[in-house]
């Protein structure tokens, strides 16, 4: 009797919704797995050379950026978060949200802005020279180094840690911290004994985001001439046209990412001890007085100026100085390209996200949970890896479809898919699926299941229920999923540079190209555009957080 029942419940799970999630997960996983097979594939001569002479440097370069950026970003992020939550001081309310704004600044833009500002003709040295007759010995402020890369990455990425930690402390910590204060703990002891252990899960989540971003970074390291595994992938691919070795590098980077990814899962699992029940009144900040108050304000101001205000101001000045002269007719093409790629990518992300988030809700099985987790794995995978995996899979597809191309009258060995925009879009979808999926999953979590069930008992099919009840209620989540994903795609640099069709430029690739050609004035306007688009998404995040 049971035998006939089990297949029945299994059969009910196989439908369009689950198929969409399976396909989505396959699209995300296939290229990533393909890259991993690079570990076991035979090497060529070049790879032996790379391995012997360069690999250690690449790994050390990446490790240095990861470790130091991770450390400084955590320090700045956590200290600032605790300051604005635990204490009141002048401008505290402003900095509570303003310190998230640097997220709008793509690190590669901050990189070339800072490098020009600190260069010999840049605003800092020029001012010292002309106003104060002060000539710095060369190399005093040298950002074209790994120190510079760490500086820029820290300033652009610390807001992840700041934001997650701050939100956590605001919502969860009040009773514990107030108790500790009542028990007479000194401020430092409250910080180390209560705040840090309590906020550990939030801090770790933020740190992981930062580390994945650093491993994925190409723009900053490349601009500052720091050798990392990511930049090495580019050089072997485009410099030596050795995709095979690039793939091997990517496979090794992937191993590192997988290690981090598992570490994150492990740490997340042990996070349950933090009591989520205390949704009590928020923590009352302690007023700081005198020097302490001004010190806090000064620290926040310094970080804000360095991470956001100075670079933006510099970009604005450049854009104004050049007047309209940098406005080129091809900006329109760039903008159209950018919007088209991002629009298509985002639309596909949202489509897969909505189908699979619904499948996950309909069938809350371990299988579906695993599937959706895989679906969102792309955010941890560096753009360069995604790019090389997608390229490999598309070339294989082209080979596989070759007879079919022949029938259509194309020449032998024609590359159709792997020269098309489809390849870039696929890369975007893989890398940013997590953003879209997260938004829709949250939307479904907010919606009581009883709405859908009521609709079913009122005679509407599952599909009709989706369109008439769920979709209208998901509108807000769809919008925020769209904005967040769209902006990520627009800002994305390495993936676009590696996978774009010939002669296809976006705002980000063009801005970066101008910057590497030492044409920072020309880069200013598209860069400002990108920052502005980024600001939209940051404001969205801030607004979502408040509700």
């Amino acid at each position: 009797m049971k035998k006939s029942l089990l297949p029945r419940s299994a059969r009910r799970q196989i439908n369009g919704w689950t198929m969409a999630s399976v396909i989505g997960a396959a699209v995300v996983l296939l290229p990533i797995l393909y890259v991993l097979t690079g570990l076991f594939r035979p090497a060529n001569e070049n790879w032996d050379k790379v391995k012997q002479f360069l690999l250690t440097d690449y790994i050390l370069g990446s490790a240095k950026l990861v470790i130091f950026t991770g450390f400084f970003a955590t320090f700045i992020g956590v200290v600032l978060a605790w300051l604005v939550v635990g204490y009141s001081f002048p401008l505290r309310r402003f900095y509570k949200w303003a310190l998230v704004l640097p997220l709008a600044m793509p690190p590669y833009i901050a990189a070339y802005t800072y490098s020009s500002m600190t260069g010999y003709t840049g605003v800092i040295q020029a001012t010292l020279r002309n106003r104060f007759d002060l000539v710095l010995p060369p190399g005093t402020i040298d950002v074209m180094s790994d120190r510079g890369a760490i500086f820029v990455l820290t300033l652009c990425l610390f807001p992840y840690i700041f934001m997650l930690t701050r939100v956590f402390l605001e919502r969860q910590s009040a009773s514990f911290i107030e108790n500790a204060r009542l028990l007479g703990h000194k401020p430092l002891s409250v910080f180390f004994r209560v705040v840090l252990p309590l906020a550990r899960p939030a801090i770790m989540a933020g740190v992981m985001l930062v580390l994945f971003e650093v491993l994925s970074d190409f723009g900053v390291a490349n601009y500052f001439g720091v050798q990392t595994v990511s930049t090495a992938i580019f050089q072997t691919w485009f410099g030596m046209y050795d995709v095979q070795s690039a793939m091997k590098l990517a496979a090794w980077l992937m191993v590192a990412v997988l290690g981090l990814f598992m570490l994150e899962r492990l740490l997340r699992r042990s996070r349950r001890y933090a009591s989520p029940t205390s949704r009590s009144n928020p923590l009352k900040p302690q007023p700081l007085k005198g020097i302490a108050a001004w010190g806090a304000t000064l620290f926040c101001t310094l970080v804000f100026l360095l991470a956001f205000f100075f670079p933006i101001a510099q970009l604005v000045v450049w854009a104004i100085e050049t007047g309209g002269t940098v406005w080129r007719s091809d900006f329109l093409d760039l903008t159209v390209n950018t919007l088209k790629g991002a629009g298509l990518g985002t639309a596909i992300v949202l489509l897969i996200a909505i189908l699979s988030s619904r499948a996950a809700r309909m069938f809350d099985s371990p299988f579906m949970q695993a599937l959706t987790r895989l679906l969102s794995a792309g955010y941890a995978v560096p753009g360069a890896i995604v790019a090389i995996g997608v390229l490999a899979v598309f070339i294989a597809l082209d080979e596989w479809l070759a007879p079919f191309y022949g029938m259509l009258g194309k020449e032998e060995g024609a590359l159709v898919l792997s020269l098309s925009l489809a390849m870039l879009i696929t890369g975007y979808v893989i890398r940013f699926m997590a953003t879209g999926y997260g938004a829709l999953e949250a939307g479904y979590e907010k919606m009581p299941k009883a709405y859908s069930e009521a609709s079913r008992t009122l005679g509407r099919s599952s599909l009709a229920t989706f369109f008439r009840v769920e979709l209208p209620l998901l509108r807000g989540s769809l919008l925020s999923g769209f904005v967040l994903t769209f902006v990520e795609v627009v800002k994305e640099l390495p993936l676009t540079m590696l996978l774009r069709p010939f002669n296809y430029d976006t705002l980000s690739t063009r801005a970066y190209q101008y910057a590497t050609d030492e044409r920072v004035f020309d880069a200013a306007l598209p860069s400002l555009f990108l920052v502005l688009i980024g600001l939209i998404s940051v404001l969205f995040i801030l607004k979502a957080e408040r509700s």
């Binding site: 009797m1 049971k2 006939s4 029942l5 029945r8 419940s9 009910r12 009581p448 009883a450 709405y451 069930e453 009521a454 609709s455 079913r456 008992t457 009122l458 005679g459 509407r460 099919s461 599952s462 008439r468 009840v469 209208p472 209620l473």
Partner: protein, 226 residues
């Protein structure tokens, strides 16, 4: 012949877990209002969800008006069972007005019929002045009546109500209880009403069914009173 027949139904939420409902059988005749009593966690809501088709039993069969809606081979989807349900917290669609909520299940009717049915329902639950309101603009008692009207509008063969009074103030409860009894009689509906309060069931139902958590008994988990 019984109108609703539940026969030997066993259900568990996941393989390996203990059964929430084990070998449960009972019957209802047409037009009857039966109360389901039992401690919290004893499986009352689960029983309603099984009849509505929101969960699938592991064993046993359920039929309504002679038609098998679930057994070993058959599973009729909830929308095809002709079963109405009033959820514990009403589950009114927050983005739709009272009128839109009530006509939601009337999509198969013609426009004119739909309008007439809406008016009839509004009159039955005495909410004629509230058609344009949204659920959050109504009191708890009014929301409950909208949920009732919405469930009754498509003229279900069986109405299931899950703790319809749990979200109401005590002083509202008495008034609404007698009102509900009257509405159900007037509509002639066969109704299964879940409550953990014996007084509710006494006031509304013709007879009652006691559900006990499965661990307590090896032989069936339901017994009739009265």
């Amino acid at each position: 012949m019984s109108f609703v027949a539940v026969d030997g139904v066993t259900f568990r939420f996941a393989a390996g877990q203990s059964a929430v409902i084990e070998d449960l059988s009972f019957a209802m005749s047409r037009g009857e209002t039966v109360g389901v009593l039992g401690a919290s966690g004893s499986g009352k809501s689960t029983l309603l969800r099984l009849i509505a088709g929101l969960e699938m039993p592991e064993r046993g069969s359920i039929s309504i008006n002679g038609r098998v809606i679930v057994d070993e081979r058959v599973f009729v989807e909830p929308e095809k069972r002709g079963v109405g349900m009033v959820f514990q917290d009403y589950a009114l669609f927050p983005n739709m007005t009272v009128a839109d909520n009530i006509v939601f299940g009337l999509h198969k009717l013609k426009r004119e019929e739909r309008r007439l049915r809406l008016e009839e329902m509004l009159e039955l639950v005495q909410l004629s002045g509230y058609v344009r309101r949204y659920p959050h603009e109504l009191s708890g008692g009014q929301q409950q009546r909208v949920a009732l009207a919405r469930a009754l509008a498509p003229q279900p063969s069986v109405l299931l109500m899950d703790e319809p009074f749990s979200n109401l103030d005590a002083h509202l409860k008495a008034a609404i209880r007698s009102e509900l009894r009257q509405i159900l009689r007037q509509a002639g509906t066969t109704c299964l009403l879940v409550s953990h309060d014996e007084a509710d069931v006494d006031a509304i139902c013709d007879r009652s069914l006691h559900v006990r958590a499965v661990e307590a008994s090896d032989f069936g988990s339901a017994e009739f009173a009265r």
